[in-house]
């Protein structure tokens, strides 16, 4: 009965990732897409907040959006998993609902 949360904006520009992480339940998944993927970068101001949540819920980043912004899986906070669009669909199907933090 868990939720897939999507976040599509940079946490440096908008509050949506923070707000999302403040509202997840244990067992939920958070998928960073579009500009949201930059929030998953190791060593950034936001890395701590993300790492703290990773475990209670699973954090994913969309690979095509990482690549577009010149980022690789190895650039990410430990434990963040990279998925493609097919993986996005699987996550949406596995969880009971999708909540977009627009």
């Amino acid at each position: 009965m868990s939720t897939l949360h999507t976040v599509n904006k940079s946490p440096f520009e908008r509050s949506s990732l923070k707000s999302c992480l403040d509202h997840v339940s244990a067992g939920d998944a958070v998928l960073l897409i579009e500009d949201g993927v930059v929030g998953a970068r190791k060593g950034s101001q936001f890395a701590g907040a993300l790492a703290a949540k990773n475990g209670a819920c699973a954090i994913y980043a969309l690979g095509p959006d990482l690549a577009a912004r010149g980022m690789k899986a190895s650039d990410l906070v430990d434990g963040v998993k990279v998925v493609d669009y097919a993986g996005f669909v699987d996550l949406a199907a596995e969880k009971s609902r999708v909540c977009a933090w627009l």
Binding site: A86, F88, V89, D90, A93
Partner: protein, 130 residues
């Protein structure tokens, strides 16, 4: 599984339409069904056939129209949002006394009830926006 997709932003300005399109393709590739794609807010601007994007860029309207044709997708443009933003089909143009229309092939204009119905009928509703 049966998906509904909502697109809240127009093409190019925001990535929402691109992501929704790639997501829709992946849904179909996995053998799932798409009950409806609903275009709301500026999303209605995906449905104008007047766009002429640069030759070296993707044509989002065409991509949606082609996907609709090849997979018999139901692409619905919200009528209230469309009126505010100047998206018309032949019927609407006549009704509003406008001298032309710009709706693209494969898109149809209908009411917000179609969005609620999509929420009811689909197993998952996924929103793409700003």
């Amino acid at each position: 599984m049966r998906f509904a997709i909502v697109v809240n932003e127009g093409p190019y300005t925001h990535q929402a339409s691109d992501t929704a399109y790639q997501f829709a393709r992946a849904v179909l590739a996995k053998g799932h069904e798409i009950f409806r794609v609903f275009f709301y807010h500026d999303g209605v601007n995906n449905g104008t056939r007047y766009t002429v994007p640069p030759q070296d860029d993707r044509n989002l309207q065409k991509l949606w129209s082609e996907l609709a044709e090849s997979h018999k997708l139901d692409l619905v443009v919200c009528i209230a949002a469309a009126q505010r933003r100047g998206i018309l089909d032949a019927n609407e143009a006549k009704r509003q006394g406008k001298d032309g229309d710009n709706i693209a092939p494969g898109f149809r204009i209908s009411g917000l009830g179609q969005l609620i119905e999509a929420g009811i009928e689909a197993d998952r509703l996924v929103v793409f926006g700003d």
